[in-house]
Amino acid sequence: MVTADKKHRVVGTRPIRHDGTDKVTGRAAYGADLRLPDMLIGRVKRSPLAHARIKRIDASKALALPGVQAVITSADLPNPADRVVPFGEGSSDLKDLARNVLAADKVLYEGHAVAAVCATDAHIAEDALDLIEVEYEPLPVVLDVREAMLPAAPILHDGLRTKEVGGEKGDQPSNVASHLQLKLGDTEAGFREADLVIEREFETKMVHQGYVEPQNGAAFWNRDGRLEIWTSTQGSFVARDQIAALLDLPVSKVRVTPMEIGGGFGGKIPVYLEPLAALLSRKTGKPVKMTMTRDEVFRATGPTSGTYIRVKIGAKQDGAIVAAQAYLAFEAGAFPGSPVWAASRCVFTAYDVPHQLIDGYDVVVNKPKVAAYRAPGAPTAAFAAESVIDELAQRLEMDPLDLRIKNAAKQGSRRADGATHGVIGNDEVLLAAQDSPHYRSELQGENRGRGVAHGFWFNIGLESSASASVNADGTVSLVLGSTDIGGTRVSIAMQLAETLGIAAEDVAPQVVDTDSVGFTFVTGGSRTAFAGGWAAYEVGMDLRRQLIERAAKIWEVQPEQVEYADDGVLRGPPGDDGAPRAITFRDLAAKLPKTGGMVVGRADVNPKTSGPTFATHIVDVEVDPDTGKVQILRYTAVQDAGTAIHPAYVEGQMQGGAAQGVGWALNEEYRYDDQGRMENPTFLDYRMPTALDLPMIETIIVEVPNPGHPYGVRGVGEVPIVPPLAAVAAAIHDATGVRFNTLPISPAAILDKLLPDGD
């Protein structure tokens, strides 16, 4: 369904991405490819225990090993201030960030960094790790979110008190870092009005983003006090700010060069290795490069929360939802900062529900500190809410999409956080799903079922900068601060090309370091094509103004007499011969050198708007009753993109989110033993879907333009991971008649419910 007014020349087309050749030929430079003169290799000594006090660290034997150049511990980090550092889709207390980078008095999860070493090669550095002696005093471990909330649970942080968000702090040590409550209307009265009330409990496990490229970072601390960083990051400026804060440096002393990035999904916003490489470089005077193994990525970076969620929804016999209540407890990992607040704000936001009560709890456990993961918090919240809505539809004998359409939030609907929806494409997405060939098709066959689910994500705006210079050959060099994930170079370049009326191929985008472009927030939050594109639009408008002035100068007329048309042709009043004056962008560019010089456009934008979006997914499955294996037979993702700048990359985001969600639903989980040791830190044992597990995911792009953007863009990258968990669970219920309220719905979990006891 396309509701946008299609008047664009470049926007909505599918040009080949500018970095495509480098990516497919292997020439693109990733962090691990970096080679610098005299470069040393660093490795991290990690805790084998999930909770322990550090009694002693002795690096003398490691330092005596030939080739070892330096060892650092937390004593080498400046004493961190107790303040919050915002970074993209998360934020962290600086002290927590420092303690996560290098443990101080305690280790709080298996894999927690306790020391780092650098040597002349990786083998020596690896050998040196075994020579660093660490004496621990083991402490009791708590791994489960509900157990961690019990008064008798082992306490991770003696100084942590529960913060009532908007209220006061507790006075007793607790693993509950914060409690948030959202309240709309009167839920008790609402439930009294309901003809049917369903309340269910849900559990999900900690899962990882599973990006292909492990974390890496290289540093060179120059003798003039300037620090150079090369890293795989979703936000070079946010990385710079974290590194500067951790090392107590002015940001002007730190330059971060973002390398190409092999996936992030939110997990490459926090820093892990970069400050260690910096400290090792300062000690040795040489550049130091560090790269994680897959094992380290699993154990010691930021997955997303395991959760316990309870949802209660009441509806009238006609399907009108009158009240909804949710209790959400999210594992934050070792330090506070789970996405439970976002989950709380999302859980019922797709629906117009007059009475809502939502309580969210952020809870520390002895697992790695979580990081953002694609629509942080929303997928598990939707798993719970959408599963109850599916059951409501079943009990009310309503079509599950009819029930959702009846209750869909609209412009002006009030959300649980009190704010109201603006222009949204909620109805349009649901109706497009209902009208899709997939939903209208009949599913036949034994052990097969169909499920649907719906999801919401806010998207964010925030600051982006860009500049562009016009070249005499009619091309434009575009300078960006957003690291390219999912084709953001081309989607931003296309918006500049659209503004200038030139071809996308005539814009050459490049992602540069933090000294070469203005502040730009992370590639995440579903903001980059939105805010980066807006910056490109403003750059284009700046260039148009300058080119109008130049044409006016050449024609010896006033700028007000010159028009810059959307086809990239500048037109002026008739000349002395009476013929209309006109010049193309390319021809004018050729005249620039001899009419005053080249022109450069610049922009820094900080949009207040963002463009929330919705997605509905439809999935058909077949469940093997003998093995418990779930085969995805057909999958359709429907989503509002506002305006799809490059439809192929919008489709790619929709398919990628769906694929990750299917893995989350069916197989993925962090498995721990009772001492907090992860049992499956490899891609063989941590089972993500491959191309063999999934059919081609069909996509339907709905376009309800965002009035808060020059081209109507809404973020597209995050919402497609919101519906799959519940959609797959609903399909399995349809196939088996059994509801699964715990993820993953693995073959073992299915057999456990399908087989008679003892089989």
Binding site: P86, F87, G90, D93, G166, F330, G337, W341, A419
Partner: protein
């Protein structure tokens, strides 16, 4: 006059009210005036004169980008939202 929506855990300061109408052309003025009606509420929202990192203030549903300098039109709704980045220990 702006209508401020009070989060549930702050309503104890506003005599249980969920909405309060106050004067103010900027968020700073709105919060100053709100504090006279709901004593102590400013301390829960601000820290060192700035909006606490756990909150985001929205005017007519649009989250501020100018902090307390954000203009508040007459008749606007002001919401005290939990920050999306949420959960960090303040």
């Amino acid at each position: 006059m702006a209508r401020v929506f009070i989060p549930s855990l702050m309503r104890d300061l506003c005599h249980g009210g969920s909405q309060v109408e106050v004067q103010g052309d900027t968020l700073r003025q709105v919060l100053d005036n709100l504090n006279t009606l709901c004593p102590g509420i400013k301390r829960r929202i601000l820290e060192d004169g700035e909006i606490r990192p756990e909150f985001s203030l929205a005017v007519n549903g649009v989250e501020e980008s100018m902090g307390l300098l954000e203009p508040v039109p007459d008749g606007a709704e002001v919401h005290i939202l939990p920050a999306l980045s949420g959960g960090a220990r303040p």
